[in-house]
Every structure is written in C-alpha cells, then in structure tokens.
C-alpha cells in the first residue's frame, strides 16, 4: 500500500465527489496516515519492537442539515463507493441542526496561508529498530549508573513516528501536512522502606531528531527524580501555598482548556459561562493557544475545518478574552470560529487545543522556590477530580515540602483542593521555565493558598 500524499489526496477527493453525487450537501474527508516504530527495553534487553504503518479515512456528510460521520481503513475505490453511500444513508438517521455545516468558503485557508511550521524531519525515517533500541538502552543505563539506589526498572522506550493529514471538503478546501515525532522515556524504580517501591520518570519528545535530549541526560534526570522521592510521607492537613512544577502545572492548564472551549460554553458545562471579558485569573496569568509555534508538538497550519491557523490569547493578564470555537460552537454562541477546530476520523470537528500554554514569567524557578517560606511543591498530580460546571478541583499529589525556601522532605499520598476559579485568581508567581515538549505546557507557578489533605 502506498501512503503518498498525492494518492491520498485523490482518494479523499473521490470520496467527497461520490458523496456529493449521492446527495450530500456537504462532504468532508480526512485521511490520516501513520508510520511508527516503538522499541522498549528493560534491564538492557529488548522487550518489544513494534513496526507498522496504517491509514484510515473519515467522512462527514451533511444532508438537509443532518449529519453522519463514518470511518474506514479500506481505501480500495470500490469499497469507498459503498462507504460513501452508507455515510449518506446514515445521515438520514439524524435530525436537522440549523447550525451544522462547514465554514463559509470565503474563510478557508488559501494556498498562501499554509505556513511551513518546521514539524517534519526527514532524518526520522533513518531510525531503525537497532538505533531505537540503542537509544532506549542508553537512557536506562544512564539512570542505573546515576545512583546506586536505582535497583529496578520499568524500562525505557524510544518511539519514532511520522504521519500526515489530508483534508478535502466540498466547500473547496484541499490541504495536507505531515509531521514527525521522536521520544525517549526512562522509568527507573528504587526500593524504599516498608517494601514500597518508588518510580520516577523523565522523557523528552521533539519534532526533530537533532532536538531530542540525549538519552544519557534523560536517564540521569529520571534517576534523580526517582531517588528524590525516597522516604516520601504524608503531611498534616493544612492550608498552604502550592508550587506546581511544569509537569504538574501543565495538568492544571489542561484542565483549564476544558472550561474555555466553546463546546463547554454552549453546553453550559463550564463555570466560566458569562465570564468573558472579566478577570478569571491573577494578572500574572496569560494563556495562549498557538498552532503556529515553529516545531511545536501541537502545531497545525490549518485547523480541522480548513481555516488558516492563528494564535489566540485566551487569558490576557488575567482577563478571559473569550471561548475558543470551531465553526459549530461559534454559530451556537453567535460569533466566528477562532479557528480552533480539531478533527479525528471518527467524529465531527470539535474544539481542540494546539500548543496551549501558560506564558512564562520573569523569575527563575529556583528563585521562586527560594522566595517561598512554607509550601507544598507538587511534581505529580493524579486522578480525575474536577467538576467543570462548579470548578471544584481536587487531585492526588506528590512532591516536596518546602520550608524556608528549601526542599525539606518528599511528600506523597496527599490531595490538593481548591476551586479552579480561586486557584487561578491566587497565582502569585510564574517562573520563566516554559518548555514546549508537550503540546499543553506550563512553567513553574505558585498559588498562594490551597487545602492540602494528609493525615
């Protein structure tokens, strides 16, 4: 099977034309192709080598305002003829929604509006199984060499992937882009008192092979993060400032995304309904969704409906500038799309983040901690404890106790709680250590007061 862009583009165009012939007023096809290599090792020996490529096609049809979305991996021309017919038939089962429909053709990204975002690295295809295994082995070995207290390992994994997305719509859009990604993850394990194990993890992932951190650095950092949790204990229940590491902070920012999306707004399932253009966070908080970030893991030249990508500042120095919308959410809320549509093969477009991040501040993370008298520093959050309608936020946490600007001892098995509204309003320091290795990202930041529940 070939996954050449031209061939996939022709396939997508053919299925869109077929659906229109069969009576669809709107037809949009997305083809996603993927090539992957995963090499997992443990204690220096291969555990898994997986190699494969795949492709699939999703088709949205709208007829008389009735929508169906169908997907298949059988891209043979005859099969796709039947598939298009089935999609058009399936649309008869849904009911008219006056807001359903593609964006206005005039708003689609023109040929000159498809920037090269530097997300594809041809060197990635040169990585074979042996090289990937070697990277993983080097990462794990570095962790075991770094500290004698590393006694075991969950292993290390190197993944390399390449993919492309091709979108063709009956409204006149045809576009494609491809991207690559490589990552190394190392997960060491140390023995603690009372038969407890402590695991830690560190990773890096980049669009370009040359930008990936060395496996030695990743492994050493993983080891450091594992042994520093040795002897972790609960703390007494209290109210204190909480410092979020970039890893924990990105989970808070990810939670925020769920309540600033236009889908949540028209469903009235966000506590931010009717809070646009008001202060929803401290003036230190600026949150951005930037699909145009060069080399970003979440970068996309156009959105899931074919609109040219643009940077949206969602929270500007504490003020909520407005919900992120795709075309549908925009129509429901009476406004244009913010060009924030994501799309998969198995469902209609929906609002998704691209590179979504809390903008970094001025202080170094070291200075931020040194400036803190007493706090919980959180390195890891666990659980699903968030109610978007009320903003109630309650998660499991581990990290360190901070006493007079220093790490006093590691902490685990506690929870941190606050209403997200209060949490964001209480951000009183943001550090300058923002890194874009994950598509949702945060620098270190501090919240002046949360409830920490322990013993």
């Amino acid at each position: 099977m070939s996954d050449s862009t031209d061939q996939m583009m022709e396939t997508a165009e053919a299925v869109v034309a077929r659906a229109v012939d069969l009576g669809a007023h709107t037809a949009e096809a997305l083809v996603v192709t993927r090539r992957e290599l995963t090499a997992k090792i443990r204690l220096s020996k291969p555990e898994l080598v997986q190699q494969a490529s795949s492709r699939a096609l999703g088709l949205r049809v709208i007829r008389d305002q009735c929508t169906a979305v169908c997907h298949t991996a059988d891209l043979a021309p005859a099969a796709l003829e039947d598939f298009a017919a089935q999609a058009v038939a399936a649309a008869r089962l849904s009911e008219p929604d006056p807001d359903a429909g593609p964006p206005d053709p005039g708003s689609l990204a023109g040929p000159g509006e498809r920037p090269d975002l530097d997300i594809y690295d041809p060197a990635m295809s040169e990585v074979d199984a042996d090289r990937a295994l070697a990277l993983a082995v080097a990462g794990e070995q570095a962790a075991r060499d770094h500290d004698p207290r590393i006694t075991n390992s969950e292993g290390a994994t190197c993944s390399v992937g390449a993919g492309q997305r091709i979108l063709v719509t009956s409204g006149g859009f045809a576009g494609s882009y491809r991207g690559t990604y490589a990552s190394v993850v190392v997960e060491p394990v140390a023995d603690d008192a009372d038969g407890k194990k402590r695991n830690g993890q560190w990773w890096d992932g980049r669009r370009h092979l040359a930008h990936l951190a060395s496996p030695e650095d990743i492994g050493a950092e993983a080891a450091r993060r594992t042994v520093e949790q040795l002897g972790a204990r609960k703390v007494d229940t209290c109210e204190v400032p909480v410092i979020f590491s970039p890893e924990a902070g990105s989970q808070v920012i990810s939670t925020l995304f769920g309540v600033i999306s236009g889908g949540a707004a028209y469903r009235r399932s966000t506590y931010l309904v009717e809070r646009e253009n008001t202060a929803i966070a401290s003036p230190l908080v600026t949150v951005v969704d930037d699909p145009l970030l060069p080399g970003g893991p979440g970068s996309r030249p156009f959105d899931g409906e074919g609109l040219a990508s643009r940077k949206n500042v969602v929270v500007d120095r504490g003020t909520f500038t407005g919900f992120l919308c795709d075309t549908y959410a925009g129509r429901r809320l009476g406004r244009p799309s913010t060009r924030s549509a994501g799309r998969g093969i198995s469902g209609p477009p929906g609002v998704t983040s691209s590179n979504f991040y809390l903008l970094g501040g001025d202080v170094t993370p070291q200075a931020l901690v040194a400036d803190t008298d007493r706090a919980l520093y959180v390195t890891r959050l666990m659980g699903f404890g968030f109610n978007p309608v009320t903003g109630d936020f309650s998660k499991g946490a581990e990290g360190f106790w901070i006493e007079k600007g220093n790490r006093a001892y590691p902490v685990s098995e506690v929870t941190i709680s606050a209403n997200l509204d209060d949490l964001l309003q209480s951000v009183d320091a943001v550090a300058n250590d923002l890194d874009h290795r994950s598509s949702t990202a945060s620098p270190t930041f501090r919240v002046s007061n949360m409830t920490v529940a322990g013993t």
Binding site: Q50, D97, T237, R268, T390, V414, A453
Partner: protein, 480 residues
C-alpha cells in the same frame, strides 16, 4: 444499513478474504522462522456505531469499521510485533517476517498445526444492538432524554449517547489453537446540566455491557435519564467537603473502582514479574482484612468486562486474587505466566490489532460479606458516604491510588446527611484493604460504563462491591 461483514468477518469462511487454518499455519511458521518461544496471529474486524442526542435532536450518527492482523513473536522476554490492514498474503507474510526479526535465531520452537477450539459463551445476545433496527435504538435515546427533562424544570441540558461495537476476532497460536469470537458491546450514557437560583450542577448515569436490547426492557432508559438528573439536583446544594483522614463508607456497585485501582492493577502479573509492584513476591501473605475476598471474573453473563476468550486465544475465567485477606495469585497473560512458571489466567487483553496484549482485568469484584448495609452506616459517628465516582488512577510502584467522588454525603451520628462537593480520595493500595472493617451483604456489579487505561490502551472492564466501611482514608476536601 446492512453490511454483510457485520455477521461474517472478512477472515471467516463466509468473508471476503477468508483465512484458512493452513494459511495460519504457514504464517505462524514464518513468524517462528528465526526462532522464538511462541508466536501468534491476531485477526480483528471491528464495527462501531454511535448516536449522539443533544438539545432535543439526534445530532450525529457515527459508523466505523476497522480490519487488520497483527503477528507476534515472543523470544524470552522480548516481543516482536507488526501489523497490517491488508489481509492479502504478501503483506501478512511481511508482518510475520518483521515480527520475527526480534528472535535471536536458531533453536526454533516447532509450531503445532492449529485446530479450531470452541470457547464458552458469556454474552446473552441474540442480536447485537448494532444490528437492531435504528428506530428502536433511537426510541430508547429519546425516552431517556424525555425522562431526564421531566425530572425537574431545573434540568436545562441533556446529552444522551449510545456507543456500540461488534468486534470479531480470530487468533491462531503456535501451540495449535485457532479461536474465534464475536464480541458485542454497548454503552448508554446520559449527562445532565441543571440550573436553579443562579447555581449550576451536572450529573451523569449510564449502563450497558455485552448484551442485546433486552437490557433496556422495562423502564431502563427512563431510570438512567432520571438518575443523571437526580444526581445533578442532589449535588446542587453540596457543601465543601472535609479534608483529612476519616472513615468512609462506600456504597455498592461503582465503588468497585477502589478495588480496580487499589489492588487490581497491582496484581497484574507484568508488574510482579518485574518486581515493580508493591504486591511482588507476596503470594500467601495477608494483604487485606480477612473480610475481603477479591476475584477477577470474565464469566459474568453480559458484563462489560466479560470475555469468552482473551486476546491470546485462552478462555475467559474466574480467578481468585485475594481470599479472606490472603493473596492467592496474580492475573497473567501468556508471557508473564511462562516467565513466572505458572498457568495463564485468560487475562491477556489488548485494545485492538495495532497493539500487543498485557495482563488486564476483566470484571473485578469484592464478594459480599455479612453486614446489613444500614448497620454499616449507623456504625459511623462522623464520616463520608460515597456512591458515585468519575474515575480513579494508581501509581503501581508506591501503591498510591486516587478515586474521585461525584456523589457523596456527610455521615453524622450514623445518618446520611449533607451532600458534599466533588472530592478526591487518596490511599495506599496494600494498606487500604487492611482497613476494611465491615462488608455488606448487598453486593452489586456496577452497570457497564467503565473503561480501563494501561500502556496507552483502553479496554472495557467491570467492577463491583457490596457496601464497605474503610477505617481511615484521606479525604481531599477543602475544609481543613
């Protein structure tokens, strides 16, 4: 919509690309051509469908199909894996060869020619819901929507979804098994937003499993719709929850999430084989109060986590994990069982043909005890009664687990009183079940909505428990 492959998967004798037993033998032979201890082929033809109902209309209809084959070679602790979406001879042979490159070469295992093995049947399904008349299913959705709206004028938004699947699998193994299964599954879910006096709250409820439309007999759609609305209304005036260690009573059913996170994952044999679980090397030791007997049971008729066969061609079965507090054994896939020198338990599961199996739970239950549930609640002077949850998570290594409450109440002097805002509970796996001081007679399996994630793969699971009392677990409220 009638697709003949709904009833005849592509690889079956009535399918478009029939794969014969002899063809399987050849491919397994290719997979073992460079050596290895074991090889298998996993064929999968899956159909999925969904209806989404929102704002009083069927907003979207979804349909999907996927087809593919994965070839696996296991050599010692190492696995080689490759898959193809194309069931022609050449790409399948290439996948077998790619998987084979993991093996060091030499000393090949002799593959046994496959022969068909019948599996048991735990799905009481005449017609998978995906094949039932569309109008019948749409009627169920509309009934749930109407019931949720009628529950209270405060209900402002109702979303109803029906997700359905029919997964045909065929496995050919180098120990000679050729196993086929057709796995129906559906999940019906209602989410409600209610608004009153300037306050807003959400509630949800759902159910399903490997069943047919008979599941909906009686007023099932109405019951689910009303339950979602009831929770939203009940939690509207919830107060801030306390923070710190306290007694918690867990209601029957969904509370089984506790088991799944606190002990279930820790008893999956991959972690124990590697010595990275808190339960490693502890078979025969007490790991829970003597009131606790925990089983993983793939044989519950119609349950969401039940399987006739696991994804390695072995029969689904019931495995006792903890008996009266004593750890009896782990959940195994073929790899962990071989490396630990024991029998597999039929727990080798995977999301689909693009990934390899791991030891996974099916339906994990804490069995009923002796206490009247009312008596358990009366025994608590001050504590929390929790009955609905949004999910949980565990760190296998240190045993810390969390689960998040969406419906809970303060217990005051033996009575259930004020509703509490959503909070997180955190505990430590090997510790928490030693704190179980009372177990109720009212065992219930949760209705089929839960999905478990591990190694990036999602599989449907079931949980269940009677009312239980935990003496001391950390409650993550805001009232210090």
């Amino acid at each position: 919509m009638s697709d003949p492959s709904y009833s005849a998967p592509a690889f079956s004798s009535r399918g478009e690309t029939e794969i014969s037993a002899e063809h399987c033998d050849r491919l397994v032979g290719e997979a073992l051509s460079r050596g290895g201890d074991y090889a298998d082929l996993f064929f999968e033809h899956s159909h999925s469908g969904s209806f989404t109902h929102e704002d009083g209309r069927v907003k979207n209809v979804g349909r999907g199909v996927s087809l593919g084959m994965g070839a696996r070679v296991v050599d010692g602790e190492a696995t080689g894996y490759a898959y193809t979406q194309d069931l022609d001879a050449a790409p399948m042979r290439e996948a077998a060869h790619t998987a084979a490159t993991i093996a060091a070469g030499g000393g090949a295992t002799e593959a046994v020619a496959v022969s068909e093995v019948a599996c048991p049947s735990y799905y009481p399904v005449q017609t998978p819901t995906l094949l039932a008349p569309d109008a019948d299913r749409l009627a169920l959705i509309r009934r749930a929507d109407a019931a949720a709206r009628a529950y209270d004028p405060a209900v402002t938004k109702v979303q109803v979804s029906l997700g359905e699947g029919l997964r045909h699998v065929m496995m050919a193994t180098s120990d000679g098994r050729l196993v086929t299964d057709s796995q129906p599954l559906f999940r019906f879910f209602v989410r409600v937003v209610a608004e009153k006096d300037g306050k807003r709250q959400t509630g949800s409820s759902g159910g399903g499993g490997r069943q047919g439309l008979a599941y909906f007999d009686g007023e099932r759609p109405e019951i689910i719709g009303r339950e979602a609305a009831r929770i939203a209304l009940a939690m509207m005036d919830a107060r801030e929850a306390p923070a710190g260690e306290m007694t918690v009573v867990l209601g029957p059913g969904d509370s089984g999430i506790l088991l799944h996170e606190a002990v279930g994952h820790g008893l999956e044999a991959d972690f124990n084989r590697k010595g990275t679980s808190n339960y490693s090397g502890r078979v025969g030791e007490p790991v829970a109060s003597a009131l606790c007997t925990v089983v993983d049971d793939a044989t519950q008729p119609g349950a969401r986590g039940s399987v006739n066969t696991d994804d390695e061609g072995l029969d689904g079965r019931r495995t006792v994990l903890i008996e009266e507090g004593i750890l009896k054994g782990y959940m195994h896939d073929r790899l962990s069982a071989r490396l630990m020198g024991t029998d597999p338990t039929g727990n080798g599961r995977r999301e689909d043909f693009t990934v390899t199996p791991y030891p996974r739970m099916t339906n994990t239950f804490l069995l009923a005890g002796q206490r009247d549930p009312e008596e358990i609640i009366r025994s608590v002077d001050r504590g929390i009664y929790a009955c609905r949850f949004s999910g949980g998570q565990v760190n296998i290594s240190n045993g810390d687990f969390v689960f998040s409450l969406t419906e809970s109440y303060l217990i005051d002097h033996g009575k259930i009183t004020t509703p509490l805002r959503g909070v997180n509970l955190i505990g430590n796996g090997p510790d928490v079940l030693t704190r179980v001081s009372m177990v109720g007679t009212d065992f219930a399996a949760a209705d089929g909505i839960w999905t478990c994630g591990k190694e990036g793969q999602s599989v449907p699971v079931g949980v269940g428990t009677p009312t239980i009392k935990l003496d001391g677990i950390t409650v993550g409220g805001t009232q210090a």
